[in-house]
């Protein structure tokens, strides 16, 4: 509303980059969880943090401290940009849909593999592959010298 807050907003010192720092710390933290954790639910949590940090990237620069919605009235001079807010509303919906679908898949994976740990699932797949391969080589011995990669 008053001049001071506007100046603060456009101040490009270290404090002016505050939202960007927070955004990128969250971004990297989220991505790290996705990569480093083997638990499928935790991976989705990391993915959620990763996506949420981007909301901040859009909202941070769009929000003016003391700014209102862009309504034409004499008593307001400072407006926040509504477009990034609307975009992020869309992105939130996409994020919720992704998370819901991801969790639904984890439920199905739990039913099929009886585990939600990536290691167990990969081991189970490998075991099944080896069984199938052993069956093939037992019934077709001439095939056994084929590449087994």
């Amino acid at each position: 509303m008053d001049r001071r807050t506007i100046e603060n907003q456009t101040d490009m010192s270290a404090t002016g980059y505050y939202t960007y720092f927070v955004t990128f710390i969250l971004l990297v933290a989220g991505l790290f969880i996705v990569v480093a954790r083997g638990n499928l639910i935790k991976k989705l949590v990391g993915l959620g943090i990763f996506q949420t940090s981007v909301y901040l990237l859009y909202i941070g620069p769009a929000k003016l401290i003391g700014g209102t919605a862009p309504i034409l009235a004499t008593e307001w001079q400072v407006y926040s940009n509504p477009l990034p807010h609307v975009l992020i509303l869309t992105a939130i919906v996409v994020g919720v849909a992704t998370l819901a679908l991801g969790l639904a898949l984890v439920v199905r994976i739990r039913e099929a593999y009886d585990s939600i740990e990536e290691e167990d699932i990969l081991a189970a797949d490998l075991h099944a592959d080896q069984l199938a391969h052993a069956q093939v080589t037992a019934t077709h011995p001439q095939q056994s010298n084929r590449g087994s990669a």
Partner: protein, 490 residues
């Protein structure tokens, strides 16, 4: 009516999705989807012929004039991509009737078509829109429905493949949003065309470069450029046959279109060739061409074999983009179309093989040349196109790629392109060896008779593979106009 075609293209399949959900009756939904995908093909052909003179159709959604409202902007490039997507969609829908009958439980069929309609709508939306944020939204519409479609696969591995694709795909899409956000902060607009004019005058280029980096990595994930291809082989291999066909022919191709749009419409050819991006793209494309082809040779399952081949073929397209001259781009746009058709043909035929033999494991397909002569011949023809043998459409696009490398004075690239084709011969040979040089096991027989709905789409695709290798007026003409529009735009 004509005026509204750009938006109808996207809205028709979008409305078909809830309709399919309400109709539920299998035959009714099938008829609806035939109608919808046929309509999409008609619309995209009409749009394509309208922009062949190099003109641009601009459609303002809700009559809000761009750059304030969302604009659908059709030019020769995206019209060409939409023809590929909707033609594949029609053939896939025809094919789906009997294919999903044996692969999916009956109560899931209408849900399958709902997701398929959403996926089609998303892919066409990505192509049609001229708004950066809209690209992200449609990208997620198509991706989310794709995850569901993949998870419908028969084996439990399909579930984990879909989960993995969901993680990778979401990371890719989020990186794209970050890039778009930075461009928006820099230019104050989301309309790609408007953004392009404003970006030129900007002195402060560092945010633009960051945006370019984020968008590049995000789209590389989506189009499965080596080494970001990890999600693709399992997703293609374990998805239902019908889904593999549609994904292999369209999904990565649309992502490549997004890349072209950002690089050449937004940043322009000049800034693209000056950036250190080109050597990186060429390096990754070459690694993909060689490493993915070598991995393909060692696969036991034909679907996985040809999925790795897809990663390699994406390398050829990206190589054309990386070379960056007019012939290179022409080869990229051509190969986008030609490879879509050839790979669509391969996966349609693999769907037929899975239907008739119950498996696509190489060990089950001994003597396929005798038991299923037509399907084997089709796979060989499409395989020849993947190698780039003259007389098939793969030759045409590889020829232009060679020309581009030579025009650029990079003879060693031309040499590498030819030698990686030798690897393609090796993986196609694995099929030929098993199908033609080995006698069928005693007791091998077709477990099902092939209905016309399976044979017709595959025959059309295989014939198209041959036809576009001989008569290149449509493909080369359309691609040339597309490249002209791409390089002429500011």
């Amino acid at each position: 009516m004509m005026h509204h075609l750009p938006v109808l293209q996207v809205v028709v399949p979008l409305i078909a999705a809830p309709l399919a959900l309400l109709l539920r009756q299998r035959r009714l939904v099938y008829a609806l989807m035939l109608l919808v995908s046929g309509a999409c093909l008609g619309i995209s052909l009409a749009l394509w012929s309208a922009v062949q003179d190099g003109s641009v159709i601009s459609y303002a959604i809700g009559s809000w004039p761009p750059p304030w409202g969302i604009e659908y902007r059709i030019d020769a490039l995206n019209a060409f991509v939409m023809v590929l997507v909707s033609a594949t969609a029609l053939l896939t829908v025809i094919f789906s009737l009997h294919s999903i009958e044996i692969e999916l439980p009956g109560h899931m069929h209408y849900l399958f078509y709902t997701m398929f309609a959403l996926c089609l709508s998303g892919l066409l939306g990505i192509a049609a829109t001229g708004d950066a944020f809209n690209i992200f939204v449609f990208l997620e519409v198509s991706s989310l429905s794709t995850y569901v479609l993949i998870a419908m696969g028969q084996q439990r591995k399909a579930l984990f493949a879909a989960y993995r694709y969901l993680i990778m795909g979401t990371i890719g899409a989020t990186l794209i949003v970050i890039g778009i956000g930075m461009l928006y902060l820099l230019t104050g607009t989301l309309n790609l065309h408007d953004m392009a004019t404003r970006l030129d005058t900007t002195q402060n280029t560092r945010p633009a470069l960051m945006a370019l980096a984020f968008i590049s990595v995000g789209v590389f994930l989506k189009l499965a450029l080596f080494p970001l291809h990890q999600w693709l082989p399992n997703a293609y291999a374990y998805a239902p046959s019908t889904v593999s066909v549609f994904l292999a022919a369209t999904a990565t191709k649309v992502a490549i279109y997004v890349l072209l749009r950002f690089y050449f419409t937004l940043f322009g050819q000049d800034s693209f060739t000056e950036l250190p991006l080109r050597p990186l793209i060429i390096l990754l494309a070459l690694s993909g061409m060689f490493i993915a082809s070598i991995i393909a040779i060692y696969q036991q399952d034909l679907k996985r074999l040809f999925a790795f081949s897809s990663v390699a073929q994406v390398g050829y397209i990206l190589l054309g983009i990386g070379i960056g001259n007019a012939s290179g781009l022409l080869s990229a746009v051509l190969h986008l179309f030609n490879h879509g058709i050839a790979k669509g043909a391969v996966f349609l035929l693999l769907g037929i093989v899975a239907y008739a033999m119950g498996s696509t494991q190489l060990s089950h397909l001994k003597g396929l040349g005798k038991t299923m002569p037509w399907a084997s011949a089709g796979i060989v023809i499409a395989g020849l196109s993947l190698i780039g043998v003259p007389g098939t459409n793969g030759f045409i696009s590889k020829w232009y790629l060679l020309l581009a490398a030579m025009e650029d004075g990079q003879w060693w690239l031309a040499f590498l392109i030819v030698s990686s084709s030798l690897l393609a011969i090796a993986y196609v040979w694995r099929f030929i060896e098993i199908a033609y040089l080995q006698a069928p096991d005693t007791g091998t027989h077709l477990i099902r008779r092939l209905p016309l709905t399976l044979v017709l789409p595959a025959a059309v695709m295989v014939l198209a593979t041959l036809y576009f290798g001989i008569d290149t007026r449509f493909t080369v003409g359309a691609a040339t106009t597309a490249v002209g529009v791409m390089l002429g735009a500011p």
